[in-house]
């Protein structure tokens, strides 16, 4: 028997917030109540429209004054402002536009600036992996199109590692912008809903330190485990907020499958 379905249930259905059991009951209700079904459809469409209209903001370059505000107390005197700007530059966050630190300057790129590869990857992971409805731009159902598209944009023949043996399936991917050009992010998910992302971009020219890091490395960036390496001028980073031992296995698999196997060139 279907319990009475409330207005709240209908909203929760549209927002994907119901338990599996309740969702089935509401589905049955909607099948028998076309007017309600129409409204729910409309609400889901509204959510879609909001994402279509505003998700691009996530991938915009971060204005430098906001990056600075996120990092420290606002400077209140010119002396402090200068000191803050110097400290900021010295922190290595930005090696860009030194001497012209204006408030409206933009850190270009947002998720892949002069920040080290691992840090960019960790931030991109933290930004996109919690997205419930639109974690990826192109879903894995269109995997071939996804890989071709991102390969073309990033400028190398990309390959998505297969993590099926470790319980993770490809969810899809998205294109990010970066200083050294476009960045590809692939997202994987396991049965428990845990997500890892693979971040691939051209290694930043002139960033000797980054280019020298050709070996397999591990860091923890703000709670995000990151394994990263450089291969043929491209930086790869696998990020996840899962146990280090677990992501290690994934990273080993990715490294084993990807390194040295990229197409010619």
């Amino acid at each position: 028997m279907t319990d009475k379905v409330s207005e709240d249930d209908l909203h929760a259905f549209a927002d994907g917030a119901l338990s599996d059991a309740r969702r089935l009951e509401v589905e049955a209700w909607l099948a028998a109540h076309p007017a309600d079904a129409g409204r729910v459809q409309e609400w889901m469409g509204q959510n879609q429209s909001l994402h279509a209209a505003f998700d691009s903001v996530l991938n915009e370059p971060l204005p430098i004054h906001l990056v600075r505000a996120a990092r420290r107390q606002p400077a209140r005197t010119p002396y402090k402002a200068i000191a803050a700007a110097l400290a900021f530059v010295a922190s290595g966050l930005i090696g860009y536009g030194i001497g012209t630190v204006s408030d409206r300057q933009v850190v270009n790129p947002p998720l892949a600036s002069a920040l080290p590869l691992a840090r960019d990857a960790a931030i991109a992971h933290a930004v996109f992996s919690p997205e419930v409805r639109h974690p990826v731009e192109v879903e894995a159902a269109h995997a071939e199109h996804l890989v071709n598209w991102l390969s073309k944009r990033v400028g190398t023949e990309l390959k998505t590692p297969d993590f099926a043996a470790l319980g993770f399936e490809l969810l899809g991917g998205r294109l990010l912008t970066g200083e050294s050009g476009p960045v590809a992010q692939f997202m994987y998910q396991d049965g428990a809903g845990r997500r890892v992302t693979l971040y691939v971009r051209r290694a930043v020219a002139g960033k000797a330190a980054e280019n020298q890091e050709t070996t397999f490395r591990h860091v923890t960036e703000n709670g995000v485990q990151v394994f990263y390496w450089i291969d043929r001028d491209f930086g790869y980073a696998l990020s996840g907020q899962i146990a280090p031992a677990d992501i290690r296995k994934l990273a080993d698999a990715a490294y084993g499958q990807l390194v040295g196997q990229a197409g010619g060139g």
């Binding site: 509204q46 909001l50 990056v67 996120a70 930004v127």
Partner: protein
């Protein structure tokens, strides 16, 4: 001493929400900047282990509320029944399915709920905490917001509860 959390990873989402909320790039980023400054000043009050993102959105909500109050005449209450004042000419339906215009015409309190739930994917309980209202209030605002939005996007005339002179 505990490590200070990094706010940078929250910037893209705060910016997305603020952009949709204010409908203006500059106003949105000003709101984000104010939020960051307040967050850094009050970071000691944030309880480690709780959801930093929800806490940041709470701060942004309070700042947004202050902005609205300061722009409104003091006698205009911020109650549930308050609808955006529109002139007769603006009451005609939106012809285009323009989500931006429709959002701008939602009362702020409904717009906040619509965006926290529909765009930022907060649960109803979380949204209630961010806004400092009971979850029942979240549901009723959500319901009204979606119905109003539906009417606007469908090109139906929106019933005005109250036209401010």
């Amino acid at each position: 001493m505990r490590a200070r959390p990094d706010l940078i990873e929250h910037l893209p989402r705060l910016r997305r929400y603020a952009r949709a909320l204010t409908g203006d790039v500059t106003r949105a980023d000003d709101l984000v900047q104010d939020t960051l400054e307040r967050a850094l000043a009050k970071l000691d009050l944030w309880q480690a282990g709780t959801d930093l993102r929800a806490w940041l959105f709470t701060l942004m909500h309070n700042l947004f509320l202050n902005q609205i109050r300061s722009r409104r005449p003091p006698d205009s209450a911020l109650d549930e029944a308050l609808e955006i004042p529109v002139s007769g000419g603006q009451m005609e339906a939106l012809g285009a399915r323009d989500i931006h215009a429709a959002l701008a015409r939602l009362p702020e309190q409904q717009r906040e709920v619509m965006l926290l739930v529909g765009l930022e994917q907060f649960g109803y309980e979380e949204a209630a905490q961010v806004l400092g209202v009971p979850v029942g209030t979240v549901m009723s605002r959500l319901s009204r917001a979606r119905e109003r939005m539906r009417q606007m996007l469908a090109g139906e005339p929106v019933v005005q509860l109250k036209v401010v002179k």
